[in-house]
Each structure stands twice: as structure tokens, then as C-alpha cells.
């Protein structure tokens, strides 16, 4: 039991992200309202971003901007443990952009669906198709 609690405490960042992923996935698949599906999609993507950003964290480390870095002509030794890992931040900048792009496209398609079918409830759309 102690071990279990220790596991949770030492890795609650993963727990949080993974639970959010579950919520997002449930929303994307189960919800009847198409806009709610889009919201689920957004939650899913944001959860993954959280997951990555939490990887980059190191205890007692600061943001990865070198202090007094500008114009340093003489070679100063930099201690890598003082700065968090920059790579996941870079990757997630890309993922955020992709998320925004997908969200925009999904909303545009949704507007068109609403214009054509007059509703964004999935079951009502399916009924109107069958008729």
C-alpha cells in the first residue's frame, strides 16, 4: 500500500494527464452532440500537451533561458541541472499549433453541417439522412 501511494505521489503528473486523456476520448466517441465531440478532441490534445510538458520538468530547475547569456564572449560553463529540458517545450509548441488548426477546421466543418442539416445532434442527422 505504501508503495502504491508512493507511486501515485511521485508520478501524479502522468495520472492527471492520463485521466484527462480518458475524459477527452470518452467525449470524442460517446457524445451525441458534434460540438461536444470537438470539445472532447480539444481536451484530448491538451492532455497530451500536459503530459509532454510534465516530462520536461526537473526539480529545482528554472526556465531554459541562460542568464547573462547575451554577449558572453568568454566561455562560461553552464550547469544543465539548473534549467529544465527545452525539447518537450519545443515539441509542444508544434502540437499546440496543430491542435488549433484541427480545432478551426473541425468548427468550420461543423458550421457547414449545421447549414446543410439544420442540427448538430448526431442521431438527428442520421435520421435526416435515412429519410
Amino acid at each position: 500500500m505504501d508503495n502504491f501511494i508512493h507511486n501515485i505521489i511521485s508520478s501524479y503528473n502522468y495520472w492527471a494527464a492520463l485521466i484527462l486523456i480518458m475524459i477527452g476520448m470518452y467525449g470524442m466517441i460517446a457524445k451525441n452532440n458534434l460540438l461536444k465531440k470537438v470539445i472532447g478532441m480539444s481536451i484530448f490534445q491538451s492532455a497530451i500537451i500536459l503530459f509532454y510538458i510534465s516530462i520536461s520538468y526537473k526539480t529545482n530547475a528554472a526556465i531554459p533561458i541562460i542568464i547573462h547569456g547575451h554577449g558572453a564572449t568568454e566561455h562560461v560553463a553552464i550547469d544543465p541541472t539548473l534549467y529544465v529540458n527545452p525539447l518537450p517545450h519545443v515539441l509542444m509548441l508544434t502540437a499546440i499549433v496543430v491542435g488549433v488548426a484541427t480545432l478551426g477546421v473541425a468548427l468550420a466543418v461543423l458550421q457547414k453541417i449545421h447549414r446543410v442539416h439544420g442540427t448538430i445532434e448526431e442521431d438527428e442527422i442520421m435520421e435526416s439522412i435515412k429519410e
Binding site: N7, S10, S11, Y12, N13, Y14, W15, L18, I19, I21, M22, I23, M25, Y26, I29, A30, S54, I55, S56, Y57, K58, T59, A61, I63, P64, I65, I66, I67, G69, H70, A72, H75, I78, P80, T81, Y83, N85, P86, L87, P88, H89, V90, L93, T94, V97, V98, V100, A101, T102, G104, V105, L107, A108, V109, Q111, K112, R115
Partner: protein
Amino acid sequence: MKLLTLLLSLLVGAFLIWSVQDLPDWGDPQSPASTYLSPHYIEKAVEETSVPNIITAVLADYRGFDTMYETVVIFCAGLTVLIILRRTPRKDKKVIKPRPQREGADIILQNTARLLIPPMQIFALYVIAHGHHSPGGGFQGGVILGASFILLALAYDLKSALQRFKEKTMLFYSALGVLIYAGIGVGCLLLGKNFLAYAAWSKLLGITELAAHSHGMLGVEIGVAFTVMAIMFSLYTDLASGGDMDEGL
């Protein structure tokens, strides 16, 4: 159906959480992710690119190819929304029922917007230009610039915002931004180095290779800002007006 999905999601979640025990603890400085590539970036970024903000250095230089395609993603999203939604008003178009509009103009809102927009845009320029030394860069600055136009459209109306930033100009800027980025890369190619190896510019500009890295990144960030600004506003105008560019929110 819903229950089934719930079970499926829980199953996937349980599966993922099961793996957590195998992952390094939160904030562990000895985790592989923190000990393999990242020390090199942290130690060498200033030396190799003369940019103290390591995120900018990695984003625009080490992984510049990623970022170029990221800019293309934004451009692509703008075009996608445009091609899906945009309706060109015809001469003989049906009269679309006007949506309920707010009565008159809100003087407080409009004057606040007038006061706020110029400082916003100047701050955006600062964010773009200072991305080498502090948090910021092309994406962040571009979003702020785009937001300033959205504020204009919200406080006044879509038409007056579109008069200042026309649809044609938006498209032109969005493509121009990616072209600036790719152009800097192609320049390196023509100057005899690999794509996006900014050091190639040093001879032409008469600066050291180190400074060329820094300058190249600045140029790239400016390109990114152009695209992001134009596309953010374009997404807003298309989505808010349903593709008619007529009446906004």
C-alpha cells in the same frame, strides 16, 4: 453504446496508467529525457547559436525544419477553413436574414479598443523581436497581433476591421510568412550549405557565422509572425461570419 465507450475509455486509461510505474518520477533530474539530448542543448545553445533562450534556439535552429512545417500547418488551416466555409456573395444573392445585432455602438468599448490596440501591436513586435532573450517569438507575437485585429472586429464590427485588413492582404501575408521562412532556407541552399543552415548567410551579410544563426532565426520568426497574425484573423473572420464576411459576432 455510451456504456461501452465508457468501458473502452476506462480500459485504455487503465492500460496507460498501468505503464506509469515504469516511467521515471516527476521532476527526476536523472530521467533519460533530461540526461540525453537536453544537456547538450542547454550547454551548447549559446555557444553554437548565440541565442540565450534555448527554446527559441531549438525551435528555430536545431529543429527549424519542424517549425517550418508548423507554419505550413497554420497556413494550411487558414486555407482549409476558407475553402470549406467561404461563400462569395453574388450579385443576385438571396437576402440572408440578418442576425440580431446589438443596438448602436458602445462608446466605452470602442474607445478602450482604440487606446489598447496600438500598445498591443507594439508589444507584439517586442515579443517577436525579443524572442531570443526572453519568452516569446514569432508564434506568440503573431497571436498577439492577430488578437489586436480581432479586438477591433469585436469592438467595432467585422466590416470596419476588414477595411483595415483586407481578405486579399490576409492571404498574401499568410503565404508571404511561409515564403520568408522557406526563402531563408532556400537562400542557405543557394549559398552552398544545407537547407536552413543559417551560417551560409554570413558571407553575404558580412557577419560571423554565429551572428548569422541569430539573424537567421530572427528572420524566420518574423516570417512565422506574418503567417500566424494573418491566419488568426482569417480564422476568426471566417468562423464568426459563417464564411460571408458580412456580419461578425
